[in-house]
């Protein structure tokens, strides 16, 4: 099978072009020699089936960033029949370097010049024919966004593929890559001969928008308002979708599954319904949020606003070893940790990405909010309730900052902070939808197995041995709770609450339901009963522990699949458990010492 690689600098619309050619068929895959995943798709080109690979966006084939190393290693380990180099036409004066670098490797190439419309607007003219003659490779103007010129570019690619040249041995490429050719002179000559660039260049629209959005004093408030609106959008649209999905899933359960398992032994129907099926339902509950999140994220990213957010937030974030883009993900974590973790993929430096991923699970997500509202209503007066909730949010931020500051030495970012500010652009609906689809697929493939197994495990812990009531002190969960009593007693967390914490490991949404099972009561009766069982200091300590100890199984599964490291997952779990214990201990003992 022929192999075609897509190469270009960041912000040239490379992923858009990849999506346009491959459609929804793209999949994430592993490649020899590299540790990161690359998107690839099988496409039909000139009667051949070829594999199209979306390489990371890089500035320089000889650069030192992680992505640049990935591309080098990919080319040194995988034979490539053709490289399609995509450049932003308005920046051809500096991006041409990438084409010349590829040419030095003797890999057949096609040069696609994207965003010809933007170049035209700013008065840049490129003589593609004469440039092609000088470069000895086909040069075509295209629009990745709308597909203009794409058939011609693919035709040129087909011609090269049909010549059936044997691909250069990757070993040779590997050697060639070690030589850094001086191409500046060649580049300047080419630009002089074939490109006309006006001396003064300004993109007026972008400048005008930037004057407002990057304003010295209004920039940050506008950013926060924009984030809040997007956030509200995700969760006001997402909530009914999630509820509807939950309703459909429970209907499916009561209408179809329960009758099927009615005659099977209790343990088996429990395993299938409360274990496996609940696990599937847990996975499904995230689908609407992930789709909506990436719908919004791809708008923010493709429009060019994300780099602006980095500009606005950088002075604060740099002190914590993070950057402004990480802040957007941290904020999103307050809605749901899972898509926020997936969103960190925009950060190209691995240490910084890991640091951000360590911080996100500490954000008070909407599921934890449900637990807190229940407990606050049960144990605090209406006068105190807002203050308690506010304290929990403050604690969430504090633990996030603390984690970032403590671990920034461990995950030291070595990449220089130099970002391009692309002009504002409108993303197309197609791009946005494809992105949502790819992300959901990614989540389902990578995380669902882990989540289902975890849910089954917690079900088993809270339902066995079978001769005691579910979720009671006699179950394995109860025994584990009793085992940890010496550790949890100093926090004021009793055995019942400890069992609820074990449930909470799966998902915070089920904690309230778990308390209902544990105490054998529901709703108001449960609230009244809990108020007689624990006092406010215990409740606060329990809430602090719940906030910090571990987000949920889905977050952990995502953390593991995004970091590609179980060790990192364990570090995150151990750190948050430890931190939760210390915070709750200090609070509980301090409050008791003060006489509360």
């Amino acid at each position: 099978m022929k192999r075609i690689a897509l190469l270009g600098m960041p912000n040239t619309g490379k992923s858009t072009l990849f999506n346009r050619i491959s459609g929804a068929s793209a999949r994430v895959g592993n490649w020899p020699g590299i540790t990161v995943d690359l998107m690839s798709a099988k496409i039909l080109i000139g009667g051949h089936i070829a594999e199209l690979i979306d390489l990371p966006g890089i500035y320089d084939l000889h650069g030192f960033s992680e992505d640049e190393q990935v591309v080098r290693r990919f080319l040194s380990n995988n034979a490539v029949d053709l490289v399609i180099v995509l450049l932003n036409s308005s920046q051809i004066d500096r991006q041409l370097s990438l084409v010349l670098q590829i040419k030095k490797l003797n890999i057949p190439a096609v040069l696609a010049l994207n965003m010809a419309d933007e170049a035209k607007q700013s008065g840049i003219t490129i003589d593609t024919e004469s440039l092609a003659n000088d470069l000895h490779i086909p040069v075509l103007s295209i629009s990745a966004k709308y597909g203009d010129g794409l058939p011609k570019a693919l035709q040129a690619a087909t011609q090269i593929i049909n010549q059936n040249q044997t691909a250069t041995d990757p070993k040779v490429i590997s050697q060639l890559l070690q030589e850094d050719h001086q191409i500046e002179h060649e580049m300047e000559k080419l630009i002089q001969h074939h490109v006309q660039i006006p001396t003064t260049f300004t993109d007026n629209t972008t400048d005008k928008i930037d004057k407002v959005l990057l304003h010295k004093w209004f920039g940050l408030p506008i950013f926060f308002v924009a984030m809040f609106v997007l956030f509200q959008f995700i969760f006001t649209v997402g909530k009914p979708l999630q509820d509807g999905l939950a309703w459909a899933l429970s209907l499916f359960r009561s209408g179809l599954l329960e009758p099927i398992f009615v005659s099977s032994p209790a343990w088996f129907s429990g395993l299938m319904l409360d274990g496996v099926y609940n696990g599937v339902a847990t996975v499904a509950a995230f689908v609407p949020i992930i789709v909506l999140f990436f719908l919004v994220m791809s708008m923010v990213e493709d429009s060019g606003y994300l780099s602006r957010a980095a500009f606005l937030m950088d002075s604060l974030m740099a002190k914590m070893g993070l950057d402004g883009r990480g802040f957007v993900m941290m904020l999103m974590g307050f809605g749901c940790n899972v898509p926020a973790l997936m969103g960190t993929r925009i950060m190209r430096s691995r240490p910084m990405r890991l640091l951000t991923m360590l911080v996100i699970p500490l954000s008070l997500c909407s599921a934890r909010l449900q637990v807190f509202i229940f407990i606050i209503t049960a144990l605090f007066t209406a006068k105190h309730a807002p203050l308690v909730l506010f304290t929990l949010y403050v604690m969430s931020f504090l633990t996030m900052f603390l984690t970032a500051i403590l671990f920034q030495g461990q995950y030291k970012n070595t990449e220089p902070f130099i970002l391009e500010l692309p002009p504002y652009r409108f993303p197309t609906l197609r791009q946005i939808i494809l992105r949502g689809w790819h992300e959901v697929k990614h989540f389902l493939v990578r995380a669902s197995k882990f989540i289902v197994i975890g849910v089954v495990l917690v079900w088993a812990l809270t339902n066995f041995p079978s001769n005691v009531p579910p979720a009671s002190a006699g179950t394995y969960a109860g025994q584990i709770g009793a085992l940890f009593a010496p550790i949890l007693d100093p926090l004021g967390i009793n055995n019942q609450l400890a069992i609820a914490l074990i449930f909470g490991f799966v998902a915070k949404e089920i904690v309230v339901g778990a308390l209902a099972v544990i105490y054998g009561m529901q709703g108001d009766a449960l609230m009244v009963h809990m108020a007689t069982q624990i006092d406010w200091v215990q409740a606060m300590s329990f809430m602090l522990f719940t906030l910090i100890y571990t987000p949920c199984l889905s977050t952990i599964a995502t953390l593991r699949s995004e970091a590609k490291s179980s060790a990192f997952m364990w570090l995150s779990i151990a750190w948050s458990l430890g931190l939760a214990w210390v915070v709750s201990f200090v609070f509980y003992q301090g409050a008791r010492w003060l006489g509360y």
Binding site: M9, Y59, D60, H62, G63, F64, S65, S90, Q91, D93, R94, S97, S122, I124, E184, I197, F201, T206, D210, L214, K216, W217, G219, L220, S307, A310, F311, L312, D314, S315, L316, A318, T414, P416, F417, I418, L419, E420, L421, P422, P423
Partner: protein, 76 residues
């Protein structure tokens, strides 16, 4: 000798030298920072935040740490 980090908002300048390690040098040159090239400062973020620099057709933001590696000749 003047550094990019010392340039005032709205000022234009020509790059006279880039003194950076190989990593940073590669990145800077790929983004268009080359000796002899003109640039201008568009704005700076509050609280000593990053600089917004325009080079030809490219807008770039960079921190002070990186900006001190670039020597310039400011237009008066």
């Amino acid at each position: 000798m003047q550094l990019l980090s010392q340039l005032k908002i709205g000022q234009n300048a020509i790059i006279t030298a880039i003194e950076a390690d190989e990593y940073l040098f590669h990145r800077l040159s790929a983004l268009g920072f080359r000796v002899g090239k003109p640039l201008s400062i568009i704005r700076r973020a509050n609280f000593n935040g990053p600089l917004h620099v325009r080079l030809g057709t490219t807008d770039v933001i960079l921190r002070d740490t990186e900006a001190t590696r670039i020597q310039i000749n400011a237009e008066i």
